[in-house]
């Protein structure tokens, strides 16, 4: 094992897959040799693979995804970067109506092997247009797969699987995770979609969390442990497909669940997971389902305002305490 950052783990996944398969190429704004990605995920790649395969694009999100769709249905495996998750709204038709529906609409004649990578998340004071968490939008579009890695290990393994797969993948990253370090194996590995990971075992309460919130949940678990509460942290790792069984299995053990997600509460990730538990595991519950999510507001700029809306260790601890 060796320590790498989440950012470097992603870069490694891209590099390895580009070396392995000449049909894999990258496109996006400022991903090439001059800037190497707004978050430096494509660092060094243009140097190794050239400008053709690490392609700087105009600021044209809709055409970036459209280009990826057209390339994917004609034999290539594009990985498109949208600089901020908020900007996927500019490409929504190409993502939701084209990439997601082409396989189905054309009766399974063609596969659409493309990956859209983009960072979500608040916490760096860049306000309402660069801080949202919009994973739930894409969960609501049949035809897309949605990945939400929280660690360097998961990021690398899931991205490699995403690139090798034959379905369009919406690959969510989190801007606060890029510098996070974690261990990954020396040897090549991949992680299948639809398999959750128990990030911490516990027996009193299940906390389901994704992306940056996994780490907040782990911090909360640490604090609660000191107070005698044993928390199990389950990270779904992919939202589509969702490993329902892993969540249900944990709830069967603990009888209680808190769902933590950085997106808005209404119709959000936490709503879907709560509905799954309510529908399929209600008999195991000894307490009401609790949700910790952002209130239904845009992300504000000023640090105290922003910190007020992002779920944190304390709000998670409080939610757990309400039911244990």
């Amino acid at each position: 094992m060796r320590k790498v950052t989440y950012r470097d783990a992603l870069t490694e996944a891209l590099r390895e897959e580009m070396r392995r398969d000449s049909t894999v190429f990258l496109l996006g704004e400022d991903i090439g040799k001059y800037w190497e990605g707004a978050f430096k995920v494509t660092k060094g790649l243009a140097k190794e693979f050239g400008d053709e395969r690490v392609r700087d694009t105009p600021i044209s999100e809709s055409a970036i995804i459209g280009a990826a769709v057209g390339a994917a249905i004609t034999g290539m495996r594009p990985v498109a970067e949208i600089m901020f998750g908020d900007l996927t709204s500019l490409a929504m038709d190409q993502i939701a109506n084209q990439a997601a529906k082409i396989c189905y609409m054309f009766g399974g004649q063609v596969k659409v092997p493309l990956v859209i990578r983009t960072p979500f998340g608040a916490g760096v004071n860049i306000a309402a247009h660069h801080s949202q968490s919009l994973e739930a939008w894409f969960m609501h579009v049949p035809g897309l797969l949605v990945a939400v890695p929280s660690t360097p290990y998961d990021a690398k393994g899931l991205l490699k699987t995403a690139i090798r797969g034959n379905n369009p993948v919406f690959f969510c990253e989190h801007k606060l995770l890029y510098p996070l370090e974690g261990e990954i194996p020396e040897d090549e590995y991949t992680i299948p979609f639809g398999v959750a990971d128990v990030k911490r075992e516990g027996s009193d309460v299940t906390v389901v969390a994704t992306l940056y919130m996994v780490h907040k949940a782990l911090d909360a678990a640490e604090e609660l442990e000191a107070g005698g509460v044993s928390v199990e942290v389950v990270d779904p790792r992919t939202l589509v497909p969702l490993d329902k069984q892993a969540i249900i299995k944990s709830v069967e053990k603990t009888g209680k669940i808190v769902i933590v997600s950085e997106d808005c509460k209404t119709a959000g990730v936490s709503a879907e997971i709560a509905a799954v538990v309510a529908e399929e595991a209600i008999d195991y519950l000894d307490a009401p389902i609790k949700r910790v999510a952002e209130p239904d507001t845009p992300i504000p700029f000023s640090p105290p305002l922003e910190q007020h809306v992002i779920p944190n260790e304390k709000t998670i601890v409080n939610a757990v305490k309400e039911i244990v």
Binding site: A63, A67, G70, M76, Q94, G107, N167
Partner: protein, 321 residues
């Protein structure tokens, strides 16, 4: 005839145009009998565009299409019986009944599919062009879209990208003067959409879209440039749809005089007269071709009508591959 095209090619072009017209008339007839679910957008009147462009393409070349796409499919070589089956929602249709009239695709002949979101096919065609460039083949892409689509942001974004990367894409604007019921002059100040090519630094040309040989010639030059790696072209074909926008549209926003004027410019009649006039073909040969096509269309209808509907549970298949 002032063209270098062989007699065989000219006859084939006439055959395709007549095939599209006959197919569309049959679809309209079936619709009138309430046999077509949903809506239809007929291509009648615009046949010279699809045929003039696709007659320059090889099987390995690609096209993208629109909600008004039956003609593009036929011109690129898709089978009428499977198109008809798709329009009727049958299991034997190209998309197994999941797409319908607005979403026909036949990847086996390079028909990359019709998108019913206006302008959405333009970036996809550009992406197919990028794929060709990266794979290093000499294929080209013809991207069909309407005058309405040229006001979408995707038109600007995708043509600009194709231009900067010199992609082998022929952007074919079928300007039938109306975006649904909105006349071109209401939504743009320019008369020629082809003029927009200047903004992207590429070649743009406006042609009589009801003259199949004029379309053919413009497309020939564009395809030649594209195959040589000299980048994209915007071709605007001035044409007219004989029927309304969709099946519910009596097209009352068009004057009787205007419709009559365009009917006089019917691309099929014009081409037929030209072929007869220049002794490329005889009246008897024309009749023979038309008879064969009408038989083929009847067979397509029979095939579609006799085909089964998909099993309801098939609705759950093909979401993922």
């Amino acid at each position: 005839m002032a063209t270098s095209l062989t007699r065989e090619k000219l006859v084939e072009m006439y055959r395709k145009m007549f095939e599209i017209r006959s197919f569309e008339e049959k679809v309209f007839e079936l619709y009138a009998q309430n046999l077509v679910p949903g809506t239809i957008h007929l291509y009648g009147g615009e046949e010279a565009v699809a045929v003039g462009v696709c007659s320059n393409l090889r099987k390995a070349d690609y096209i993208t299409s629109t909600h008004r796409g039956h003609g593009h499919c036929i011109a690129k070589g898709a089978e009428t019986k499977r198109i008809m089956a798709e329009i009727l929602g049958k299991q034997t249709g190209y998309c197994k009944g999941k797409g319908g009239s607005m979403h026909i695709a036949d990847f086996s002949v390079g028909m990359l599919g019709a998108t019913a979101v206006v302008g959405a096919g333009i970036p996809i065609a550009m992406g197919a062009g990028l794929s060709i460039k990266l794979r290093g083949t000499d294929q080209v892409v013809a991207c069909f879209f309407g005058d309405g689509a040229s006001n979408q942001g995707t038109f600007h974004e995708a043509i600009n990208m194709a231009a900067i990367w010199e992609l082998p894409v022929i952007f074919v604007c079928e300007n039938n003067l109306y975006a649904m019921g909105t006349r071109q002059s209401v939504v743009m100040l320019i008369e020629n959409i082809a003029d927009r090519a200047v903004a992207y630094g590429i070649s743009g040309v406006a042609v009589d879209g009801n003259d199949v040989l004029a379309v053919y010639e413009a497309a020939r030059k564009a395809v030649e440039r594209a195959r040589k790696g000299e980048g994209p072209t915007l071709i605007e074909c001035k044409t007219y749809r004989h029927k309304g926008h969709s099946r519910i549209d009596p097209a009352k926003y068009r004057s009787k005089e205007e419709v009559e004027e365009w009917l006089r410019k019917d691309p099929i009649r014009r081409f037929k007269e030209r072929l007869l006039h220049t002794n490329v073909i005889t009246e008897a040969e024309i009749q023979q071709i038309e008879k064969e096509i009408l038989t083929e269309i009847e067979e397509a209808v029979k095939f579609a009508m006799e085909s089964s509907y998909p099993a309801p549970k098939e609705a759950l298949e093909d979401v993922y591959t």
